[in-house]
Every structure is written in structure tokens, then in C-alpha cells.
Symmetry: C2
Subunit: 194 residues, 2 copies
DNA sequence: CTGTTATTTCAATAATTTCTGAAAATTCAA
DNA sequence: TTGAATTTTCAGAAATTATTGAAATAACAG
């Protein structure tokens, strides 16, 4: 099964980008191939289409399954495993966000938490710890937000994204409402929480 | 200048994570060191603190400058170059977002655009192109949103993030207002655009 | 200029990662 | 059971990437 030039181009590109995205070339290529494919493919088809070894295919699939970006599918009357990517591109986005967070962010957040428990021994450590706290708080804010947004359905998420900078106007409106309702100035003053 | 255990831990962690973030260990370590440091450091100080070669330090700094994550600073009466990370952590976030986009996303978007211009030769290509269009449209939506949010000041950005899932409620409110104003059902039906 | 200090470049080597082929393990029909 | 088909594992080879030391270049004080 020779790849059409269209597919070929995309597959090679994903292979090259793979490195930047934290996977190797083969993994990028396998993903791209499955993403474009009309129907699930088995390991031999992938092996042949990409011109790689069967064992390489096996490892690549394993990694993509660990990322939850590829699923096994069984086809009636065929012993071989077939593979496909999720159809819903919004779901792919969610999975990617979750997995990258798990691999790239959570370990750092965890280390920061531990480090912030230590009592600083001198001014230098005090400053370092202060910087770490800034980083920690920002990451927590971001991941908390991401958690919340994750829960939105495709429609709401699409709406939020389409809003773009309009979000800013919406925030203004919200602030005005808050002011009206509470007779106070806008802003996120913790002391106002009560 | 031996590193305090606190700093050491963080620096080593960033070195290890570097790989996942698309830079090598040394680059991760240099960044972490500068991020925590009270004052700008020169290349020799970095070299000694991390126990690496002077040339390695030079290359690492160069890469971090290309990422705009490290800046040169000059110190009165000292010929050597000193380096520091930006102070404002929100700004660091913006820079990271921009640079990652430039390296990881824009090339793909560009390839997708080109590929979508090609007339599909058969059903297989038609399907592949359809998938590429889904990906293209989603990425455009995301990057467009990111562009807009980039422009927000720290305060508004913080507010938006703190809002979290509250965004959903806000969208509901917006939809109700829209319905009220237009006497139509909520949603983003393209046909409504007129 | 000249010599000294500081920085960068780059070819060689070290370290790491990726890929393969062969063998082992698994699955399942007969 | 047996044995054919399929998948996985893994040690070593190949490829890639990171790091170094030495040499070249740049910057500048005297």
C-alpha cells in the first residue's frame, strides 16, 4: 500500500515534528497515518506503509496506546489487532491536554510543593523559594482552570474559544454586574470573599 | 559556589524535565539556575555551579536567548556578560506560549493550509483531507483564541483563569442575553450570522 | 596597535535514543 | 494438545544528539 503524496507529506511532517512533541519519529508517523486513515489499520499495514520494522511498529503502537491516542479495534473474523485514533477531534484535544499535563506539569508541581515545605536556611534560599512559590501558584491557577475547562462539552468549549478576546468584554460586564449587586469596586480582593 | 540543596533539587529536576520540554538537560538546568537566582549570573558562574564545560554553557545560553527566556544584562565596570530571566512570571508564560506556538504549531498549520489546497484524487484522499481540515480548523480556533488572550493584561488574565468553570455560567448568561436581544435560540448556528 | 580577557565556533568524542532482527511469548483454531 | 499466526521483548547495531577541548574570534583597556 503506497501512500498517496497527500498522506505522505502529512505523515513525514508529523514524523519530523514528533521530536518537538516528545515522541520519536516513528510514533509521530504512525499517529499521522492512523489519524488520516479511513479505516483501522493492523500492524503489518502500518509497517509496510511506513517502511519500518515490525518491532518498531509494535513499540510505537504501545507508546501511542499509553498516550491514549490510539485504540485497539477488532474486526470480525480477523485475528490481527487493528488500530485507530479517536474520531472526535475535541476528544483528542482533551486527551492530549491531560497526558501532557500528567507528563510535563504534574511532576514539577509535585516537586515544587515538596520544596516549598522546607524552611529556608538563608536569604538566598528565601529568594529561591519565593520564585518557586510564584511558579507553583501560577501553575496551579493554570491547571485548575484547565481542569474546569476540560469538563465543558464540545459546544461550550467551541463557544468559549470563538469568543476570543471577547472574553475581556464579558469580564467587564461581569465586573459591572458584581459592582451593581454588591455596591463595591470590581476586582479579586481576597478580603471581599466574606 | 556550591548550590544549596533547595536550589540543587530544582535545578536537577528542570534538567531532567528539559528533555520532555524540547530542550536538553543543560539548557533546563541553566534556566532553572537563573530563574531562582537573586541576581544575574555570568557564564563562568553558571559553568561552575552546574559543573559543565564553558562551551556548553555558551551554547545553552544561546538557546535560551533564542527562546527569549534569558536576557543579557550588563554590570557596571565588569566586561563579562551577565544573564537573567524575566522577573514577571506572567510575561514568562506569554513568551513560552509564543515560542512553543512558533516552533510546534505554526509549521503544522502552514503545512495543513498547503495540503488543503490540493484537489483530492480519490475517496481516500478526500477522507484524509477532511481529517486535515478538522485539525486545521481546530488549531486555528485555538491559536486565534490564544492570540486574543495573549493581549490581556496580567490582571484580566488572572481573573479569567480564576473564573475557571465559572466561564460556563458566564457563557450561559451571555446566551440568555443574546436570546433576549434577538428572540432566537442560543448557539452558534452559522446561518444565524446574517 | 598590542596583549589580555571574554566569548563563540566547531570537529571530535561521549552519551543517549531509536531501530532492528531474532527469539520468546501469546493466542487461538483444529 | 499441537502448531500456525500474531504480537512482544530485548540485546545489539545504527543513528542522533549532547558535550567537550582547542582554536578562532571579538571586545576592550592600556
Amino acid at each position: 500500500m503506497a501512500l498517496s503524496p497527500l498522506v505522505q507529506t502529512f505523515v513525514l511532517h508529523f514524523g519530523e515534528m514528533g521530536g518537538r512533541w516528545g515522541v520519536n519519529r516513528t510514533v509521530g508517523q504512525i499517529y499521522a497515518l492512523l489519524f488520516l486513515s479511513d479505516e483501522p489499520l493492523n500492524a503489518d499495514q502500518i509497517t509496510e506503509a511506513l517502511g519500518i520494522s515490525r518491532s518498531n511498529t509494535s513499540m510505537g503502537i504501545k507508546e501511542l496506546e499509553a498516550w491514549r491516542l490510539v485504540r485497539k479495534r477488532h474486526i470480525q473474523g480477523d485475528r490481527r489487532d487493528y488500530f485507530q485514533t479517536p474520531d472526535d477531534i475535541w476528544q483528542i484535544l482533551r486527551i492530549l491536554a491531560e497526558e501532557r499535563r500528567k507528563r510535563e506539569i504534574d511532576p514539577t508541581l509535585s516537586l515544587l510543593r515538596d520544596t516549598l515545605m522546607v524552611k529556608p536556611a538563608n536569604d538566598l534560599e528565601r529568594h529561591a523559594q519565593d520564585r518557586m512559590r510564584q511558579m507553583h501558584d501560577l501553575i496551579e491557577l493554570l491547571t485548575g482552570w484547565a481542569d474546569d475547562v476540560q469538563k465543558l462539552d464540545n459546544e461550550s468549549l467551541g463557544q468559549l474559544l470563538a469568543l476570543g478576546a471577547g472574553v475581556s468584554r464579558l469580564l467587564d460586564v461581569k465586573n459591572k454586574i458584581t459592582v451593581f449587586a454588591r455596591g463595591k469596586r470590581p476586582g479579586r480582593d481576597p478580603k471581599e470573599a466574606a
